[in-house]
Symmetry: C2
Subunit: 439 residues, 2 copies
Amino acid sequence: MTNDNDIVKPSILPGFMELLPSEQILFNKMLDTIRYNYEKFGFLPIDTPVIERAEILLAKGGGETEKQIYRFKKGDTDLALRFDLTVPLARYVAQHFSELTFPFKRYHIGKVYRGEKAQRGRFREFYQCDIDIIGNEKLDIINDAEIPSIIYSTFKDLGFKSFTIKINNRKILKGFFKHLKILDSTEILRTIDKLEKIGLNKVEEELKEQGLEKEIIREILEFIQISGTNEEKLKKLNSLEIENDIFKEGLNELKTVNYYVKAFGVPEENYMIDLTIVRGLDYYTGTVYETFLDDYPNIGSICSGGRYDNLAEYYTKQKLPGVGISIGLTRLFYQLNEANLIKFEDSSLTKVLVIPMKGYLDQAIKIANLLRDEDINTQIYLEKGKVGKKFSYADKLGIPYTLIIGEEEIKQERYSLRNMETGKQEMLSIEELLLFLNK
Amino acid sequence: MTNDNDIVKPSILPGFMELLPSEQILFNKMLDTIRYNYEKFGFLPIDTPVIERAEILLAKGGGETEKQIYRFKKGDTDLALRFDLTVPLARYVAQHFSELTFPFKRYHIGKVYRGEKAQRGRFREFYQCDIDIIGNEKLDIINDAEIPSIIYSTFKDLGFKSFTIKINNRKILKGFFKHLKILDSTEILRTIDKLEKIGLNKVEEELKEQGLEKEIIREILEFIQISGTNEEKLKKLNSLEIENDIFKEGLNELKTVNYYVKAFGVPEENYMIDLTIVRGLDYYTGTVYETFLDDYPNIGSICSGGRYDNLAEYYTKQKLPGVGISIGLTRLFYQLNEANLIKFEDSSLTKVLVIPMKGYLDQAIKIANLLRDEDINTQIYLEKGKVGKKFSYADKLGIPYTLIIGEEEIKQERYSLRNMETGKQEMLSIEELLLFLNK
């Protein structure tokens, strides 16, 4: 049909992740674990179109978003691909407001698109795994304390041993800057946000460059260095005696969250008040979260989020406060893989490869039917060829067991099950086989 | 922040499906069931980018595809959204050829995009659930017989009672037309394909319009009216004594497939040889499948596919024959819903809503922690308000049980579990509660 010249070199675009099946299986297991935990805590699934009207997705507008968004026309319609799951959530809640029950707890796992500059570890298509709890007019602060318990449960189930959920409240920062009589703290917050990366001296330097007074810088540095246990930090914040409402409100919220995070069963070693956690500058209005792997701080935050006053102001006049988090699974998977933390052995979904000897296909099919009836993931090797090749097929795919069906087996009504890892081979009756493979 | 004029009316584009959570739960259950069955039969997952180079996706080119595809530029790059999962599979297998193990059995569940004319029941974004078995150079015909058993197992698990998998072999059609000395059968096949819809008389009419000789038309009509059991149909095909290789090859394949479909455990009433099944005119080269709900023939085929000689000729010189099927879940879900075949009651994923009475939040959280530790999907109602409102929240979401935690309960160490459907309320100890909700 085609000649050499017609062949298009098969490749994908830079900045897109594509996995081999053995990797995909583990990626999917992580996705499933996240979904499982989200459902365990009472979140409902939604799924929104990847393509929306550009007008909808860019209602807020401005900043990096507009530059990075995939935007195009189809006919006369100005379209774009979603760049996060929050804007679609806002549109969804505004659109379906009267059909939803509040507080509305939803999870959404899906791909989002950002035409970023291609660089290692940055993806243009990536999975986000989001949960949000949306209130109608108001939403209790206890919700902010439940969120860390969901993060904890999820990352435990994902197999992580040591990680820390860092918690802060932006009202405390806001009140603190009000107390310092700083009207626009944007630049300062941007600097504080980099503390972990650049260190205290560099932060001081940057603050100087911003033209702040010496005394102000001293107070900022003192503030962000507040240390000790969570209780000690709260005490020190109290002792600052900052007398504005927003600071006090933030401090009270943080106290409540700190108390109930413990009540929700998150161990002390897995969460921590950190006054330098800032998060997206204009979106969050109260509690904020970031999560770090203790042994791999360079990976950065693996799960972040926070409280916001008003989810959907661009689409409705309803006031919809909420709190939520997001796990960027594509980037997380990439980073874990780079750090050699993902084990690809034993990832096979298929439990057994049935290998029919010549002339015994009918019997092999019969036995495969029985295995599948018992929900045992089973493949039959249907191609002709040498037995060695068939064993090596199971080996290459990491299928843990092979089952030979031939003359001897049919005569004895016992079948040779081979453990592909140990090489051990046993003759089992159908009943024994089902019992063994079902466990 | 915003005033009235700034509000963008929240809506999605026509031709896109968006579900409420209660619907989404059932949609996801169907997706999970399909995935579960695909894995049971030994298929491996892959996931490819939604965006690919237009050159890749349009390598084959021509036809409806080019008109319907979402295509756009980002910088200088000519991009498009995938319009099916087969072209990405071809590219994937060609690209990763040396890293894959053949026969390569893969499943892929994902969204695809077609900018079709908007009309009821047609979607521009929809889920496809595909499996394919790809051989290197060759692929045994028995694979073609295993496919119907996967369709059968999947649709049984989806809860369908009566459906028929119709099977044909395009080589038989090809050989038959060769025997009639018809070189280009495209138009005739297009007409035959409509038999179910337009009836025999209309088919005859159309064939006349195409200028075919009377005798030829008679033979075609006789051929497509071959009836009886599967065995009788095969016998009649035999008795036609058509002496060309392609016809004989097709007939032999169909005989083999017919024999082994039975061996794979598909009941007689769920499959049928149908010589009028044609499928996509230029893609399939051997066995073809279509699946119909017996009680809802108007829904059309709910699962189709077939055998092809060469998957990836546009991307590699490797010869890669394969066989596969696809379920278009978005359309199927829509059609089932239209036919009132989807029951939205009892779709809640959450098993129990814990309702703390005033002053008993700490204890309620403690008990919710215990339930979640036992993998019981649990929500705590954290907002303040009247108890009636909290019960009605559970009711609206279809949560089957509520658990009240208050003074009496804590004193007695027994907790009131209310069955929201029957209204029956019982006082249970923690052990009884876990046992009851875990079943």
